[in-house]
């Protein structure tokens, strides 16, 4: 498929629900993302952010609802749809016994990157994620921050249309966080990015749109520009939408 054929809406999830036994983790969540948009997914622990992301990447089948990635139904044609997704889960999926180069090469092959292009892709992604000098090191010996970066590199190595990052800045030092934010903004220009986080300034720094989840439902959705215009404070909104329901829950 040519790049031009890909519609402007990259992710559209409709009525997404997921039950674990009797417990409802995610309840009728709608989500839409356009190309060039960065969406921040907020919510307290256990709000269902990770579950939603797992459903968007095909790691978990939704109990009901549908997901379309670049116009392709994820549930009906998982292999085609997954070509467009890059995913960094909560725990970066790293083979600790491999070196950074070996690992990224494997990730690239998994995503059908051509053998002839692999070297150039590898150099580029290492450049972007600041992994230039540590290609030969074992992942096991890297610090948490570097491991996180390898995780991000793995997610963007095939230049996906949709990048889903579950708490990407966890374990990074302030300098690295700034670099990662710059990287995410850069990625957001060419593709669409969903990131979940607990750090509110991060959302204000990199996101175009914010959605807040609480107890499995989407409780708030707005463009950040709109919030700024109305002079609303994200922290106050977060408290308002998550604390209130939290109290009724107790």
């Amino acid at each position: 498929m040519l790049v031009n054929d890909i519609p402007n809406v990259t992710i559209s999830a409709c009525n997404l629900s997921r039950n674990f036994g009797k417990h409802t983790a995610v309840h009728q969540v709608d989500l839409e993302l356009r190309r060039g948009e960065v969406l921040g997914l907020l919510g307290p622990n256990g709000a269902g952010k990770s579950t939603t992301m797992q459903m968007l990447t095909g790691n978990l089948a939704p109990t009901s609802g549908s997901v379309q990635i670049c116009g392709i139904d994820l549930l009906k044609h998982p292999q085609q749809a997954k070509c467009y997704i890059g995913y960094l889960p909560e725990n970066p999926p790293l083979y600790k016994e491999l070196t950074v180069d070996e690992y990224l090469r494997f990730a690239a092959r998994l995503h059908h990157v051509n053998l002839s292009r692999i070297d150039s892709v590898l150099t580029e992604v290492k450049q972007r994620c600041g992994l230039n000098d540590i290609g030969k090191r074992l992942i096991n010996t890297l610090s948490k921050g570097y491991q996180q970066r390898v995780g991000i590199a793995q997610a963007i190595i095939h230049q996906p249309e949709v990048i889903i990052l579950d708490e990407p800045s966890i374990g990074l030092d302030p300098n690295q966080i700034r670099e990662i934010r710059i990287l995410i903004r850069e990625l957001g220009k060419a593709s669409s990015v969903i990131l979940s986080t607990h750090i509110l300034p991060e959302v204000e720094g990199v996101c175009d749109r914010v959605q807040i989840m609480n107890q499995g439902t989407m409780v708030f959705s707005a463009a950040l520009a709109e919030l700024k215009q109305k002079n609303l404070n994200l922290e106050r909104i977060f408290e308002q939408f998550t604390l209130r329901n939290g109290h009724t829950g107790n």
């Binding site: 095909g58 292999q79 889960p89 970066p92 070996e102 998994l110």
Partner: protein, 247 residues
């Protein structure tokens, strides 16, 4: 894609000392048996000549070597298969494979193939050892071939069941114990069944292997072993899919 997964499995195997230890150990055991049998054969040779239709060198030396190889395999397989799936769950690396645009079948078959190539490598050592007999005389190559087919099928059975058990848990140790338990149970299945025509006997993997070991390529055994492999590969694929559906 299958080959990508298989080569990754091989790489992970060979960066750990376990694989090298296994190769060294199996070679040591087989050479020991080989030399012992060779010695016995040379001693008995003059007496064997007097019997009509005497057993040849292949029967006296190679058959026991392959019989021992099957036992070593039975003990070693759980240690090698335990991490195939369990460790992927444990280290959350399965997410990488599931999120990639490849089918569950490719993941399972790739993993199976990776370990199979490793076992074939181990078997190659045994075959080279056997072929060294050609330096001093002639061999029954047909018998060797039947042993090779039998041992590869047996190894494939062991791997497929180990792979399935490994997909059931996220603790490699539990996977190893479970696999060993089942393999031992399948091994003694024919000891338990006192009646020779008992159905249970058919489930003894080593019994099927014995016919290959004797040089008999039995189509029933062949079919049984192939079906056994396929069954557990399919169960593993179903298990992966079930994990996605049920969490």
């Amino acid at each position: 894609m299958i080959l990508t997964i298989a080569s990754k499995e091989l790489k992970l195997l060979f960066v750990s000392p376990l694989a090298w230890t296994f190769l060294a150990l199996i070679q040591l055991m087989l050479t020991w048996v080989f030399l012992g049998q060779l010695d016995a054969f040379l001693e008995l040779q003059s007496q064997l000549m007097q019997i009509a239709n005497p057993p040849g060198a292949t029967e006296v030396i190679i058959v026991p070597v392959f019989a021992v190889a099957s036992l070593v395999l039975l003990v070693a397989t759980p240690l090698l298969t335990m991490r195939l799936m369990a460790e992927e769950w444990r280290n959350h690396t399965m997410t990488l494979l599931i999120s990639a645009p490849i089918s569950l079948t490719a993941i399972v078959v790739g993993k199976f193939l990776g370990l199979m190539i490793f076992f074939l490598l181990a078997m190659l050592l045994a075959v080279l050892l056997s072929l060294s007999l050609l330096i001093g005389g002639t061999m029954d190559l047909g018998l060797l071939l039947s042993n090779m087919i039998g041992l590869s099928l047996l190894a494939a059975c062991f791997i497929s069941i180990g792979l399935y058990i490994s997909s059931l848990t996220s603790h490699p140790a539990i996977a190893a114990v479970g696999t060993l338990g089942i393999l031992l149970a399948l091994w003694i299945a024919d000891v338990v069944a006192t009646n020779t025509s008992s159905v249970i006997q058919n489930f003894s993997l080593l019994r099927h292997y014995e016919s290959f070991n004797r040089g008999l390529i039995d189509s029933f055994s062949l079919a049984f072993l192939v079906l056994f492999i396929l069954t557990f590969l399919i169960l593993t694929i179903r298990r992966l899919d079930g994990k996605r559906l049920h969490g």
